[in-house]
């Protein structure tokens, strides 16, 4: 398990060696900042609920872009072979890569702390939902990262990995908005599958073990799927 640390360090470092990190972070900040502040003054309410409400959709695009290279690039240049013939297990590799993506998502969220801080100067900000929102954002980021890792393990083409990852994350986000098409009996189950549904609860400041369990299980399923996909290859 000590190997997880080294893999994590390498993967996290690579993000900042290439321009990917800076591009992704800039786009993320521009998009969230723009959508948040264009409507912020119309409501004249001192909260950042709109920022968090939009997060599942932006994450559906941004997180797969962060994770797309994790396995695809290794498969493409063949370095996976050099890596796996050193004394590491798949679990070390997958956890290291997954954690690198999660921490990167965290790093991406750090500059957004400027929003609640700005808002707190403008009026009475309730910090409870903000803290909940950030905890939820990290959990959501972890779940989407695991899905991205899975998508990346399917193909050696990063673009395809991005599109598959985005499609899955997007479906999970939108599933509870589409429920009115479906019969009453299925709504309960499908609603539970929606990432947005669980994220909304947490970002209101309500930290429920069911929601946490949901994000942890999505993460687990994603990483296990990656394990199966990579095992199939050898």
């Amino acid at each position: 398990m000590r190997q997880v640390r080294h893999i994590f360090k390498r993967e996290f470092g690579v993000y900042f060696v290439s321009p990917i990190a800076y591009i992704v972070i800039s786009i993320f900040l521009i998009v969230t900042g723009w959508f948040f502040f264009t409507t912020f003054f119309l409501y004249s309410q001192a909260n950042v609920r709109n920022f968090f409400a939009l997060l599942p959709i932006t994450f559906s695009f941004v997180v797969p872009a962060v994770t797309m290279r994790l396995f695809s690039e290794e498969l493409n240049i063949g370095s996976y072979e050099t890596l796996l013939t050193m004394p590491v297990t798949f679990l070390d590799v997958a956890l290291g890569k997954f954690l690198a993506a999660v921490v990167f998502v965290g790093a991406m969220l750090v500059p957004t702390l400027a929003y609640p801080i700005t808002v707190s100067f403008l009026g009475q900000l309730d910090w409870g939902p903000v803290v909940g929102g950030y905890i939820g954002a990290m959990l959501l980021g972890a779940a989407f990262s695991a899905i991205g890792v899975f998508a990346s393990s399917l193909t050696r083409n990063q673009i395809i990995a991005f599109i598959i990852g985005m499609a899955i994350c997007f479906s999970l986000t939108l599933i509870d908005k589409m429920l009115f098409f479906l019969p009453q009996s299925m709504i309960g189950v499908l609603e539970y599958l929606g990432a947005d549904f669980h994220f909304e609860n947490i970002s209101k400041g309500v930290i429920d073990s069911r929601d946490i369990l949901y994000f942890l299980s999505v993460s687990f399923v994603g990483l296990y799927g990656a394990h199966l996909a990579m095992r199939e290859k050898n």
Partner: protein
């Protein structure tokens, strides 16, 4: 050191390696030879623990691949074909990463990185990204990667493919240096390379082992056949054929060339000899009894190339 038994690998329905058995002894340089697609890379990948065998067993020292994969990986240094390394990393960072994964720390790590960098000659590119290196340097970084944990066994998949002749000589020199103390398994389809670097050669064709032995024994045992070329003046081919055909052990007589000269035509004749003994003396004595002039008598040594072609020819 390494014991491979009934090793088989299927890719879906395609059989890449078919029940092969071989042993590698301590301190030996073993060459895995074969045409493209014969199963060399697959065999090495299974040896290195990257691919799981469909059936059969690989034992390295006292460890088996299915139970002690990590222990075997610790004993082994592996360089895949064309050294696939992380392009965006600097050479030093990469070697540092490898040393960390190999669980070397502190002063020991720095000393080890210096040592392998010296051995493989990558000191002058330490601070360049791997992606910008020439193929030869990339291969050297790959060798340094494989040497990092001072492994007892080194596995190289086509270590000289795609290099220019100078680089090939350099890489071979490094491998021979390494091979003095370590057990080395390498694959190649370049025969002169196997002859130059390997103590023993295993020839694989279509997933099966067709020959196993030192290059010398392979050359001899191939079929017990060899060729003798003679050049004669003042002789006619019909009479040469008649005279020599009566000798034991000569299976074929072919006229390869004929030169017109003023003082008699020169015949170049190739004799195919099927005998374990050297027939050149007998041929000379036979010719001495006639009035032909013997200009040349030369035995053609069988090259590994002939052996290889014979063994791997499409039937």
């Amino acid at each position: 050191m390494i014991h491979v038994e009934r090793l088989t690998k299927y890719y879906r329905d395609l059989c890449a390696v078919d029940q092969i058995n071989f042993d590698v002894h301590k301190g030996e340089i073993l060459g895995l030879l074969g045409p493209n697609g014969a199963g060399k890379t697959t065999t090495l990948r299974m040896l290195s623990g990257f691919l799981r065998p469909t059936s059969g067993s690989i034992r390295v020292k006292d460890y088996t691949v299915d139970q002690h994969a990590l222990e075997i990986k610790r004993l082994l240094g592996y360089l895949p074909e064309s050294a696939p390394l992380y392009h965006e990393m600097l050479v030093y960072d990469y070697l540092d990463f490898v040393a960390n994964i190999r669980e070397l720390y502190g002063e020991e790590k720095r000393a080890r990185i210096r040592h392998v960098a010296d051995l493989c000659g990558v000191n002058e590119v330490m601070h360049q990204p791997i992606g910008e290196l020439s193929k030869g340097y990339k291969q050297r970084v790959g060798l340094a990667h494989a040497m990092m944990n001072d492994p007892e066994i080194l596995v190289f998949d086509e270590p000289t493919s795609g290099l220019d002749p100078n680089q090939i000589v350099e890489i071979r020199e490094i491998i021979r240096q390494i091979g003095k103390e370590k057990t080395v398994v390498l694959s190649t389809h370049i025969l002169s390379e196997a002859e130059a670097t390997c103590d023993r050669v295993v020839i694989i064709n279509r997933g099966k082992i067709v020959a196993d032995g030192s290059t010398e024994t392979l050359k001899q045992s191939a079929s017990g056949e060899y060729l003798v070329n003679i050049s004669l003046q003042n002789a006619r081919f019909e009479s040469v054929k008649r005279e020599l055909h009566s000798m034991d052990g000569i299976a074929g007589i072919v006229l390869t060339n004929m030169e017109q000269e003023e003082d008699g035509d020169i015949l170049h004749v190739r004799l195919t000899c099927q005998s374990s003994e050297d027939l050149r003396g007998d041929i000379y004595r036979k010719i001495k009894q006639t009035d032909w002039v013997l200009l040349e008598l030369q035995r053609e040594t069988k090259t590994l190339e002939n052996v290889f072609r014979e063994l791997t020819r499409e039937s």
